[in-house]
Amino acid sequence: MGTDVKVISKKKPNASELLRSKLGKLELKTPLTVASGTFDMESLEFFDPACLGAFVCKTITRYPKKGNPPPRLYETEAGLLNSIGLQNPGLDAFVADKLPLYRQNLQMPLIVSISGSSIDEFMQMIEKLESCPGISGYEINISCPNVENEGIAFGVSAEIVYSLVQRLSSLTQRELCIKLSPNVSDIAEIAQAAEAGKASSIALINSVFGMAIDYRTGVSRIKKGIAGYTGIGIKPIALALTHKTAEAVKIPILAMGGIYTWQDALEFFWAGASAIAIGTANFVNPLAAPELIMGLGGYLLEHKLSISDIKGRVKI
């Protein structure tokens, strides 16, 4: 067991126990996962994957998506703008090519992120994926800011979220995690709709709407104009929305948004997260994940705390 989390010094035999977590139906060896679209097999060449509790893949759609025209990226003072446009090979290619690769190489639960342009499309995807072994759960992306009339439309209406989740939950016994958008008036209401539809967990936040312009030329730094803003600059926002959502629902929360360090992680646990993910930090520090788990494990050990001791106990 001690060897599961190699990054933690052997002198502290209990860190891996303190790090054990649950996200809905999933038992996680650590509470750390990766944010969809920011991590893939290549990233695992940087470190021992034992620091991760689960693997969330890039969002896939029913049919292949070309993605958005370049430039797709721009780094701002305190974060990153992206406009990938959910480029992906589509469900069939995913099942044929990617899934076997994941199944063969991942030593941890795989959560497949999916997005669709209609409730039907989402249902078709789950139906197909249900027939594939080696998947532990789904992250339902109803919140990508970079795809017009797809995904995001779902994310802003509580009624639609309810009917979508209710249909999907009837199709699977696997973990069903609904990923919410921060770009809404009342995230609690959307989270409650997902809970009512029998989601088993909530993921938040996806990217915030953001933009940057070359002040000399007036050219948008991102070809499509408005993009998705992520990274350290959105941390206060993600934390506020985690807290709001934790107050509103009982199902567990997989929180993300500007998490770079173990100190950031602790803030999110206090705010109510059961597990966390790092996204943009993976780019800025390819060793962010093992460093986070090492620091978190050390802190929990030193203070004899488990995550459930602090989860949601922020003092206001």
Binding site: K6, F46, G67, P70, L73, N82, I84, Y260, N285, P286
Partner: protein
């Protein structure tokens, strides 16, 4: 911890080239054996995340930099200071630490027995330097290099500057046709700013000459994960977005959908 892709290496030597250009040299035998011309590293002046909380300094992305030279482990990066990331690199001195991810991407395809034209613009120079060393024993090479002014040009067979401060005045592509004919060129490699590459590609296409370009793109991960660096590649009506950091940075010029860039 297995960090095969990520390293920190001390700068062994720093050379000044011109106002904004400089070269950083590191030493790593394993990397020396691995890197091919056209490949690049994502590099950064050592930045610590440890105290992101309270450091007032937010660590930024790595920046893609080509392998400029490789002498069996003595690896050189030739860099132009253009913005924040390269400015941080420009402050490094011997002994300072460089963070490296790579080698990334695919190199240039290597041929023998060709009459080759190299065309570079500005900071497109470094990958072609490494490339010509690889090609020189088995091919005939003519290298044209252009820049805005004298500070942008480096040793090559023919120099162009836009301001005419040295070499021929104008854009480097203006001289391509002449040299293609003169040297009976049957293979082109190019690297430089997008408009230059697009013109070069037009010329090679019109003459039906094989042509490989090394493209630039803004990158986040540099290893194929984020799809942020994608460019349109393929046939006119059947193209897709391929990653400069993974399927590139070298593409067949004819397959680049210049009209969509």
């Amino acid at each position: 911890m297995n960090s095969s892709l990520y390293r920190q290496r001390a700068i062994q030597l720093r050379e000044e080239l011109s106002d904004d250009y400089f070269t950083l040299w590191i030493w790593d035998e394993a990397l020396g054996a691995a890197g091919k011309p056209g490949q690049f590293y994502n590099v950064r002046a050592l930045a610590s995340l440890k105290n992101a909380q309270n450091s007032g300094k937010i660590p930024k992305l790595f920046k893609p930099i080509s392998i400029f030279d490789n002498q069996g482990g003595r690896i050189g990066f030739m860099i132009k200071k253009v913005g924040e990331g390269t400015a941080a690199l420009s402050k490094l001195r011997a002994g300072d630490m460089l963070e490296l991810i790579g080698p990334n991407g695919n190199g240039f395809p290597i041929f023998r027995g060709k009459r080759i034209l190299l065309v570079s613009g500005g900071i497109g120079y470094p990958p072609l330097w490494y490339l010509q060393k690889e090609l020189i024993n088995h091919n005939q090479i003519y290298w044209m290099h252009g820049g805005a002014c004298q500070g942008d040009v480096f040793p090559s067979d023919e120099i162009w500057t836009e301001d005419g401060s040295i070499g021929r005045q104008g854009r480097v592509c203006s001289g391509m046709l002449e040299n293609i004919n003169k040297y009976d060129v049957d293979l082109i490699y190019s690297c430089g700013p997008l408009p230059m590459l697009a013109s070069a590609a037009e010329i090679s296409k019109s003459l039906n000459i094989e042509h490989y370009v090394s493209l630039e793109s803004y990158m986040a991960c540099g290893i194929g994960v984020c799809h942020g660096c994608a460019v349109p590649i393929g046939a006119k009506n059947d193209w897709e977005y391929l990653r400069v950091c993974k399927e590139g940075p070298v593409f067949n010029a004819e397959e680049v959908r210049w009209e969509l860039m």
